[in-house]
């Protein structure tokens, strides 16, 4: 191989540079970061509509089903697996407990790079209040 040393050295430098984000994050501890969605501290708000394990996996489907049910079918009450009844509403049900989207939804979504369009239309209470104070809205 002509110029073998140069090529190999160049390759090593190239690989080092391209993997820089990986080992930088490992060294700085960022790779071990776990998102911490903040749960409501109020005792009355401890119980979610479904068990945590179900919500964790299926919250997308649940919200989608709620949307279809309310908008398209006109059914607005949700019967949970434990027979309890809830109003199917993002703002009035979900957000009444998880009052701060940035401390709950965004924690995992930002970490995973997930974008959703819920808040394009649905109003996140705190967001509006903050923005109104700032005079944007």
């Amino acid at each position: 191989m002509y110029d073998g040393k140069k090529i190999i050295l160049g390759l090593i430098i190239f690989l080092g540079l391209i993997t820089y984000p990986i080992w930088h994050n490992t060294v700085s501890g960022k790779a071990r970061y776990v998102p911490k969605p903040e749960l409501p501290t109020d005792k009355a708000k401890k119980e979610c509509v479904e068990p945590k394990t179900f919500i964790r996996v299926n919250h997308k489907q649940l919200l989608e089903d709620w949307k279809t049910s309310v908008v398209r079918n006109g059914v607005r009450t949700y019967q949970a697996s434990n027979k309890k009844k809830f109003i199917m509403s993002l703002n009035r049900t979900c957000m009444s407990c998880h009052t701060d989207k940035t401390k709950f939804c965004d924690q995992c979504h930002t970490y995973m790079g997930v974008t959703n369009k819920c808040w394009d239309c649905h109003i996140f209470p705190k967001e509006i209040k903050r923005d109104q104070r700032d005079g944007i809205y």
Binding site: N73, G74, V75, R76, N91, R92, K117, I123, Y137
Partner: protein
């Protein structure tokens, strides 16, 4: 056996064809049938309608109580320009609401008087026929609904609506809403919106906001299927107008003389 390019292509082609058979069959074998909603029967027991005593309105010129109430609770923005205007309930001169009433001897001053107009919640809504995504449809209780999640903003429905009841969000409407009602979502850029006959209030057993807001009781609302309802009483033995009945859309907003 010699594996020529020809055989390779043949086998490759056959394999692709074989692989595409199942998904292809799945796509084309599906018959699309809209499922009736579980509440269909309950909803179908009612048929909502509205009556407007438009002459009563004329006694209180400049009153915008119904418009204000509607636009406030539904987060309807005030865009400022005519092109971008978003309207759920608004006023239009009499001559434009009822162009067929333009007689030679018609009262000149009445022709320019404002008449309250809103989505007619047609029995045969042209907008629904035009919508390519089923983002708008007629509920069993007669309300022409919008699913903003599903609207792609093609504006075919706006072209189809003979009453101009639909508005398009050319821009993000949020900065143009003065006081946001947290109970109701806003819309986003690129969707069409219109009056929803206060579907969210009906679900709670309330009457539409405009009817509630009118102090002079110029608006009546109720179940057209119930012979004892307020609306049926109001429509009884009266001269009724509908907007462009000749189009066959069968509006459920009646103008009571």
């Amino acid at each position: 056996m010699e594996f020529t390019r020809r055989t390779f292509l043949k086998i490759g082609g056959l394999t692709l064809l074989g692989l595409s058979a199942k998904p292809g069959w799945q796509v084309f074998s599906k018959v699309e049938a809209p499922e009736p909603s579980p509440e269909a029967e309950t909803l179908a027991r009612k048929k909502w309608g509205m009556g407007i005593y438009f002459r009563k309105c004329w006694q209180y010129e400049g009153c915008t109580d119904c418009i204000d109430a509607c636009h406030r609770i539904h987060n309807v923005p005030n865009m400022g320009t005519l092109k971008e205007e978003i309207k759920w309930i608004w006023t239009t001169p009499y001559e434009e609401v009822f162009p067929e009433h333009e007689f030679e001897l018609a009262e000149e001053k009445d022709q320019h008087r404002p008449v309250i107009v809103l989505c007619n919640q047609c029995d045969d809504p042209p907008c629904v026929r035009y919508c390519p995504t089923r983002a708008t449809w007629k509920r069993e209780d007669g309300i022409v609904m919008m699913d903003f999640h599903r609207c792609i903003g093609c504006r075919y429905c706006m072209a189809g609506c003979p009453y101009g009841s639909r508005s398009f969000n050319w821009r993000d409407p949020r900065p143009f809403i003065k006081n946001v009602n947290l109970e109701f979502p806003t819309r986003t850029r690129g969707v069409v919106e219109k009056c929803n006959f206060c579907v969210e209030r009906l679900a709670q057993g309330l009457i539409p906001a405009c009817v509630e807001a009118c102090k002079e009781k110029a608006l009546v609302f109720g179940d057209l299927k119930d012979p004892k309802s307020e609306i049926r009483e109001a429509l009884k033995y009266k001269t009724l107008y509908q907007r462009q009945p000749e189009l066959g859309t069968k509006p459920k907003v009646y103008y009571i003389l």
